[in-house]
């Protein structure tokens, strides 16, 4: 009897591991294969070795993309959430909307709420935020990904998605487009800014130099115009305040033939964006009146995002790079990551 019990427990140990592995194998073979774009960093887990920490666009979702039965503010930590995905560029998928109910059809990821909603941002993890690599090769990925001063090239992670929303990482590839952010004249003193006129604001605000580089072996196309509608500001909201762009002249930005820019392999498209210009004024959610970030949001962190313009029905532009490319975060006092 005791022997049988011991054998049962040993088989149980084996069975638990077999179940854990088998479930993922099933998803690898039967699940739908998609790509998600990320921005990696490089830590180490003492139990599992080196891994690349992955951060997806779907990890931090603006409340405007939430369509659940429960109010987003009523969601408690650990609550199950479902990120419904839609196809973006080629096979890179993006968030369509977030819900607290599993959708009956379509492709979706099952995640859990990391913490209660803050500054209009919902933080969700999907269990695919770590990519384990052989010890030492994490450094190679980091090098390729680019340092804070260089061109950063995001990973596009291959994910197999099961019918129940469970996902398994199966591999990765590199984005064809890299991004670099430099900051000119960061602001040292931000007191008494309310007394500044628009000319002073424009003069004393930081200038962001943003470069998009074709890091692939073939030519590709991007799009931008005089107002730089190809870029928009994104607030990180990590101080509890949420900002959006006050200027709506680029909403929506529809692709025009004249805006298409051809980038040969290695070629760079460079823009200088003065954060003191009205095009980059910000508006705090729930507040009245917009102003430059040096006045309104001196302690906030922002990212600049390059986004492919809308293609009207019937428009086609082969080789146009599609999707979103997120810059490192910065504040008016200097770049912070």
């Amino acid at each position: 009897m005791r022997k049988a019990l011991i054998i049962a427990l040993v088989v149980g140990q084996f069975g638990v591991l077999a179940y854990m592995a088998g479930q993922r194998e099933w998803i690898r073979h039967r699940g739908e294969n998609i790509y998600l774009r990320t921005a990696p960093v490089d830590p180490r887990d003492p139990m599992r070795g080196d891994y690349v920490q992955l951060s997806y666009g779907i990890n931090n979702v603006d409340v405007s993309h939430y369509r659940g039965r429960k109010a987003a503010s009523a969601l408690s930590r650990g609550a199950a959430l479902y990120a419904v995905l839609k196809a973006g560029s080629v096979d890179v998928y993006e968030l369509d909307y977030l819900s607290d109910q599993a959708p009956v059809s379509g492709l979706f990821l099952r995640g859990r709420l990391n913490r209660e909603m803050s500054a209009g941002q919902i933080s969700v993890s999907y269990g695919i935020e770590q990519y384990f690599v052989e010890q030492g090769s994490g450094r190679a990925i980091e090098t390729k990904q680019g340092g804070v001063d260089g061109v950063q090239v995001p990973l596009e992670v291959a994910v197999a998605v099961g019918g129940n929303g469970r996902a398994v990482l199966t591999g990765y590839r590199w984005s064809r487009l890299g991004i670099r952010l430099e900051q000119i004249n960061p602001v040292a003193e931000t007191s008494n800014t309310l007394t500044w006129d628009s000319a002073t604001i424009a003069q004393r605000s930081p200038v962001i130099v943003l470069s998009l580089q074709n890091v692939s072996d073939t030519a590709l196309k991007i799009a931008d115009n005089d107002k730089h509608c190809g870029f928009y500001l994104q607030s990180l909201g990590d101080t509890g305040r949420n900002f959006s762009s006050a200027d709506k002249s680029c909403s929506p930005y529809v692709l025009r033939e004249a805006d298409i820019i051809n980038l040969e392999p290695g070629e760079v498209y460079r823009v200088e964006l003065n954060m003191g210009q009205p095009r980059w004024y910000v508006l705090e959610r729930g507040a009245i009146g917009s102003s430059a970030m040096v006045v309104n949001a001196a302690n906030e962190r922002f990212r600049l995002v390059y986004q492919t313009p809308l293609l009207l029905p019937g428009m086609e532009s082969p080789a146009l790079w599609q999707g979103r490319l997120v810059s490192p975060a910065f504040s008016v006092r200097g770049r912070v990551d």
Partner: protein, 445 residues
């Protein structure tokens, strides 16, 4: 039947020293009662190899296997890119089966092979834990990782009961603490269940197995799990709960004879005193704050807070009512009285909402002083140098602590040191005198 062999051999040595028996007679008696402390199996069921006095061997065997297992975990953590995932899974799966298979074959025999068998089972269970992280690594999943420790703990605990194995029980206790600690401090989720798993899942095993090593680990883990479990309800609850748990340990120590497990008594007493004295000393500074806010704690949490109080009261009533466990002699009464005094005059009023910061400090100072004097008395009376040293250190530490708090005049401060110096000198003289007298009375001692 109880194994009284070590006791009997100690008695023979004492008779020899006292001249009751001569060397020849002692040899005959030693031969008749050889130094066997490990009985193998008893009528009460299979015994773990950690039973009785073998706990040093269990600890070292378990440590060796744990270190080896960690080596395996780190080996897999290297994560060879060239190694196919199926091969990695096969290696870990077959290693688990191999370790348990050979362990099972060896565990059926008696003696040293049985111990090796238990160690191999332990290796298998550690490899199972490594397997949990290996599968997570292979498939890159970033789940709620404390769950991995809980799963591993449950596997170790079930093996601890099935084999039975004290080493598995120790592994389970450590993993349980890791799980509850990570949940509390990393994810802000209180896990009072950990204390109950220790109480209901591991303490009975330690008792049944008569395993001093497992019992020690469980008794040390329980207050830690309690701290982690009630941390979120309020820090003011920690000190009284720990005092109540220690008081329960002392009561168990007194009851262990009548419960048929006298060896457990010394473990309960030793672990209890190691936790109790520092708590009393901390109490000399801060007393006990009023235990307000208990009514706001939800149902299961309230049970968690009240359980040590009910346990301590129940056990001490049992101790005092039962003639077998009631203290005998002045020293035993003094020791029990100190515990009961702390409970009745400090802890209980604090639990009922009284602020015992001021009075509590006075009580804890008195109790700590009496303990130190008791140890000095025991040390000098019975010639026990370590106990005497402990008593002297306690007196000195108390004098130093109060020196900064109470005495502002340099004259008063100097007199504290003068008096302490004289007291220590007198103690030293008495110890030397007692030792000399004992040597004269028992020349072969």
């Amino acid at each position: 039947m109880e194994n009284n062999n070590p006791w009997l051999r100690a008695e023979i040595a004492q008779w020899l020293r006292e001249g009751t028996i001569n060397d020849e007679q002692a040899k005959v008696l030693y031969a008749r009662y050889p130094a066997v402390v490990y009985p193998g199996r008893t009528s009460g069921g299979a015994r773990s190899v950690g039973a009785g006095g073998n706990w040093g061997k269990v600890i070292f065997a378990a440590l060796g296997v744990a270190v080896f297992g960690m080596g395996v975990v780190l080996l897999f953590a290297y994560n060879w890119g060239e190694m196919h995932r199926y091969l990695k899974l096969a290696v870990i799966g077959l290693s688990i089966l191999l370790a348990h298979g050979v362990g099972m074959a060896m565990f059926r025999s008696d003696g040293p092979r049985r111990r090796v068998g238990e160690s191999l089972h332990l290796l298998g269970t550690i490899l199972f834990g490594a397997g949990i992280w290996l599968v997570a690594q292979i498939y890159h999943f970033d789940a709620h990782y404390p769950d991995g420790f809980l799963l591993w703990c449950l596997a170790a605990m079930s093996m601890a009961w099935a084999l039975p194995s004290a080493a598995h029980g120790i592994l389970a206790a450590v993993l349980l603490l890791l799980w509850s600690g990570l949940e509390t401090f990393e994810f802000q989720q209180a896990m009072p269940q950990a204390s109950w798993i220790l109480l209901l899942g591991l303490l009975p095993l330690a008792w049944w197995q008569r395993s001093a090593s497992l019992l020690t680990v469980v008794l040390v883990s329980l207050p830690l799990a309690y701290i982690v479990g009630v941390w979120t309800y309020g820090e003011q609850f920690l000190a009284p709960l720990l005092l109540l748990l220690c008081a329960s340990y002392f009561a168990f120590a007194r009851l262990s004879h009548s419960l048929g497990n006298p060896a457990a008594g010394s473990v309960f007493r030793s672990v209890g005193i190691v936790l109790w004295l520092p708590l009393i000393f901390i109490g000399t500074f801060i007393g006990l704050p009023s235990q307000t806010g208990m009514s706001a704690v939800p149902g299961f949490g309230l049970l968690q807070l009240l359980f040590p109080l009910l346990l301590a009261i129940g056990l001490w009533l049992w101790v005092l009512i039962s003639a077998k466990s009631r203290p005998q002699g002045l020293e035993a009464w003094l020791e029990s009285g100190l515990v009961l005094a702390v409970l009745m005059i400090a802890v209980l009023p604090a639990m009922l909402g009284e602020n015992m910061e001021g009075v509590g400090r006075l009580i804890f100072n008195l109790v700590f002083l009496i303990y130190s004097l008791l140890y000095v008395y025991r040390g000098t009376e019975y010639g026990r140098g370590k106990i005497l040293a402990l008593g002297c250190v306690m007196i000195s530490v108390l004098a130093l602590a109060r020196f900064t708090d109470l005495f502002h005049s340099l004259l008063a401060r100097s007199s504290v040191f003068l008096i302490l110096g004289v007291v220590l000198f007198v103690i030293g003289q008495r110890y030397a005198k007692q030792n000399t007298r004992r040597k004269l009375e028992k020349p072969r001692a």
